[in-house]
Symmetry: D2
Subunit: 352 residues, 4 copies
Amino acid sequence: MYTALHPIGETGAAAPRVARVAIAGATGYAGQELLRLLARHPLVTITAAMSSGTAASERRLPALSRLWAGAITPFARETLLRDADVVFLALPDASAAELAPDLADAGVRIVDLSGAFRLRDAASRARWYPETRRLPDGVAYGLTELERAAVARARLVANPGCYPTAALLAIAPLLAAGLLAPGSDIVVDAKSGVSGAGKTPSERTHFSECHGSISAYGVFDHRHGAEIEQGVGDLHALTFVPHLVPLDRGILATIYLRLQPDATRGGNGEAAVADVYQRAYADATFVRLTGSSLPEIKHVAHTNFCDLGWRVDPSGRAVLVSAIDNLVKGAAGQAVQNMNVMLGLDETMGLL
Amino acid sequence: MYTALHPIGETGAAAPRVARVAIAGATGYAGQELLRLLARHPLVTITAAMSSGTAASERRLPALSRLWAGAITPFARETLLRDADVVFLALPDASAAELAPDLADAGVRIVDLSGAFRLRDAASRARWYPETRRLPDGVAYGLTELERAAVARARLVANPGCYPTAALLAIAPLLAAGLLAPGSDIVVDAKSGVSGAGKTPSERTHFSECHGSISAYGVFDHRHGAEIEQGVGDLHALTFVPHLVPLDRGILATIYLRLQPDATRGGNGEAAVADVYQRAYADATFVRLTGSSLPEIKHVAHTNFCDLGWRVDPSGRAVLVSAIDNLVKGAAGQAVQNMNVMLGLDETMGLL
Amino acid sequence: MYTALHPIGETGAAAPRVARVAIAGATGYAGQELLRLLARHPLVTITAAMSSGTAASERRLPALSRLWAGAITPFARETLLRDADVVFLALPDASAAELAPDLADAGVRIVDLSGAFRLRDAASRARWYPETRRLPDGVAYGLTELERAAVARARLVANPGCYPTAALLAIAPLLAAGLLAPGSDIVVDAKSGVSGAGKTPSERTHFSECHGSISAYGVFDHRHGAEIEQGVGDLHALTFVPHLVPLDRGILATIYLRLQPDATRGGNGEAAVADVYQRAYADATFVRLTGSSLPEIKHVAHTNFCDLGWRVDPSGRAVLVSAIDNLVKGAAGQAVQNMNVMLGLDETMGLL
Amino acid sequence: MYTALHPIGETGAAAPRVARVAIAGATGYAGQELLRLLARHPLVTITAAMSSGTAASERRLPALSRLWAGAITPFARETLLRDADVVFLALPDASAAELAPDLADAGVRIVDLSGAFRLRDAASRARWYPETRRLPDGVAYGLTELERAAVARARLVANPGCYPTAALLAIAPLLAAGLLAPGSDIVVDAKSGVSGAGKTPSERTHFSECHGSISAYGVFDHRHGAEIEQGVGDLHALTFVPHLVPLDRGILATIYLRLQPDATRGGNGEAAVADVYQRAYADATFVRLTGSSLPEIKHVAHTNFCDLGWRVDPSGRAVLVSAIDNLVKGAAGQAVQNMNVMLGLDETMGLL
């Protein structure tokens, strides 16, 4: 996908010295997960954890007591510029769009968890992220397993959306290997826990509206659909429908596509998929292949794993199932993974 | 408890003609449940269902499509005065406190689901419901099984709180029968579904805050504690602690008290309790006695039942368990039950 | 679909006399729901409610206390033959396969909630329901809205599976109207509450395995897939994947298909679908069309409704969403609806 | 409580060499949690993880893939004797009762997660754990914060029950400080997630029975009641009622007791409690005092923390709230904590 416009080189690879990191937006669900992960990372010091919320109550994080000794402080741009080697932005799209280019210009390296810099096509970005007025130099799309080299060199890593992470880790290798039937449709039916909708209370996230219910939303009209399409390209029509399900954390994406006839000749479609995945993910600690024993959210909750399973019928119809924790591999965990790659550290550090 | 100050007589008892009813506050959780129940009541016509919410989206109730043919309309005091024999108020306390006395003065009979008129002690009411400036004539406390005669005569029925309904149906008969050890403590540990916190989104009712969690709240400081104390009287210290649990509908109250020694002589404490309950609830269709096989919320959800079970040990310590659906027996169902009594109808009409 | 082999005529249509009904398998989840519905049906008397379970504890149904005055009795074939005009079978497939033909031969009318008689193709039936050795005369497939005439005449109604009910009510009218692109694929991604897996405890239905998780199962290998294919026919390849989600009751089916170009010319695909559904379901009280405002399980839980919504993009890709309560419209409710049709009663009696 | 009969001395204190540990019963919920914790413990090697289950499917633990590289093996007593410095028993009571004494005799140190050795009174043990025929030498009760010295010397640590852990960490310090009113009653109302009921499927743990419901069980008849009484002593009558609530992991115990008048003079009851706890838990990393801001399960889930909060009214009535994760601090986490103490390691190693 993206190529880093201005590669930074291998500066991060040099040394396991302790990096100073700051978090802007530390009290949202992704921000808290970042704090939890970074607080136990052996080669990182959290120099600032900021929130723009003004209520004192918003600054209390009782779950993190004794896990992280710091305090949430008000937002302060200068601190980000002065005290951090890497800044994590867990902010609304508009705030990240405004803040990130200046930070990048000043030489701060950034992992941005918003969507502001994920789409490289200008027209698409203007539609879905109109607040993004300019891209800093050196942007990489941070789907780590598929973009390691670009991430290593990047000044700003656009951390992928949770749905695109689950979908593209399943689809991209098969596509790259030429396994899909030419011109065939792809359907991504994704089910997400409610934490994916963010921490701000709303009717949609009210317990009594979610409990005992499931709803589809954003049909033909979701920014993550555009992000998945960016990864899939123009040769296949993609239909993406996200659903809200009554659980807190996790995404299960069920993906429907057709393999090209050669791939499934002799009924060996499942073996063909297995072969592609094994090669694509030979070095990927965080992608676990479960084969025909399909993934479940329970197995990946609170981890940075993406579990991938698949079934193929003799006619070439394939069902892929991908499971992640939306707050870890779908947000904070992948952000830390990207930071590790940017700093030249072992990709899994602090994440197992 | 309450006695009706100005009994209305048996006017309602006359005839099974169709009564005109209106609901003020029809889109909250209790209001919707009222609509559902009243729409299928054989001797009632809903003449108005009002909401002060201005957004059109708040007036859509897709779950009630084909069950109720009407439309939610803006709040209009004149309609309540003109078109209703009985008005249900499912409003915030302050709104009910302001509206109810005028309606009552104008001769409209009222079932008020707010707390504004539940406390008869002026000082207690001033503390917990400071917006209630005056009581209309003819107020009854609508714990139906224990107050049928007063409800029948009442101009305004103060429909009990959900927690007091569950607690007092268990405690009051034992107290009235002199079964409690003099001066002994009473503990009410109540667990409620999240719909009890109302429909307005808040951090507390956010799915991700409730799912997988339980929290105690309002310890020594909850209006329903005062309401339960009103029913218990001064001879026993009452400790009431409500908890929010991750389910939508239902309350389970576990009640700890001590029986007086005579009652449990020979290890027959459970039989003594059974005897009291059987006499108290001989005519009560909606109170089901489960004995030592303790109630569960699942068995009362979506019904107007209160299930009561109990265990007593040889030393006289008793554990009572009471289960209701907070939106039905704890709100809308009991309101309809009270309306039935006010109108001289069979108490169970429209509720089984 | 099915045509009744030996139409029974309009005997049931004659009179609103009270029908005697019996339930074999009354303590499973569908059986209990049948009891609840039939107990309040105005023109039915439950003459027997049987269970083959031997433990006394299995015969206690505390939720039904005061709603149904009868008792669960051991299974007795003679009682079914002697005391019932209509017998509901809520039994395992093998038991229903063995019992139903004899009952039907003896002139008892049957609503069978098992799968034993749902597939009319002998080869398919032999694969999925090998215990079904013979079909009685007069079988109808009981997807009521689409098969009313056949159901009215039937001796045995094969009540549809829960997934096929949700899927076929959405797909069948579009197919019949010629709206689908010729030869296009259909994907049915269905999410079901855990009660659909039945009452027998298993690792799969253990609370701790389901809570906080979602799993796909039965990919390319589920009996309900064969049942949906029977309704869809041979002209479209159907991929059906059911999922277990952490809620008790309800199915949401998300259906992906392509409309033929003529239908969507001028971007009017949604109107074309609306038009077909409105005609197909003009007389169907239990099918509610929600248009582009998509259905949610919460709105249909504990009801016999099937809510249908849809979105179509300019290129003709369509997403249909269908929601039912799996125990009501997906089982016991539709069974009572079918009984009403068999007896010539108003289809909705006892169900609103 | 317990004193170690034959202290082992400070052998473990010597050195941070790597200890060999084995788990008997590694596929239950507590066993899996042990595997997860021990696999990332820096000074431990898992030499065996055994299960007596024979089905291959029971030996697959997909959630632990890439977190633990070993395999589940059949139960083998010799391996425990030969290859382990510390053996964790996560077995049924009867199995642990039979196995532990022999292992202890052979010099293996044991952390036993069953109840077999928790009760020191022979009569009480005979009632609740009749399979326990003899105690090995050197048993300690492993409520770590209160029994560190005994645990350090123990040959066998009886890891406490989940409910007693939550209850006694709250009650014991107040009792020891003489803060309770003499002879006053203590009520422990505990709410537990369903994983506490174990992994074996049953009607009680069926998702559809638990979802949307709460039930009390074991009133006046629960083994954990005896265990809490052992910690409380004879001077106060204890009533313990556990409840099953619809979540997976966690216990919230709400505890009702009366402080003696001196302690609350001047309305300073909350300060008196705070003072006692601060002294008792000054060195306890895993006990977090939340004061009047009461604990919630969400904050302790997946951690080894016990959060304690409290409220006291002017008359001396106190409400204590204690929250733990039943599988971590209530089982596997405390077991590892005890192992750390036995080996002379930092108590928190591998647990933060």
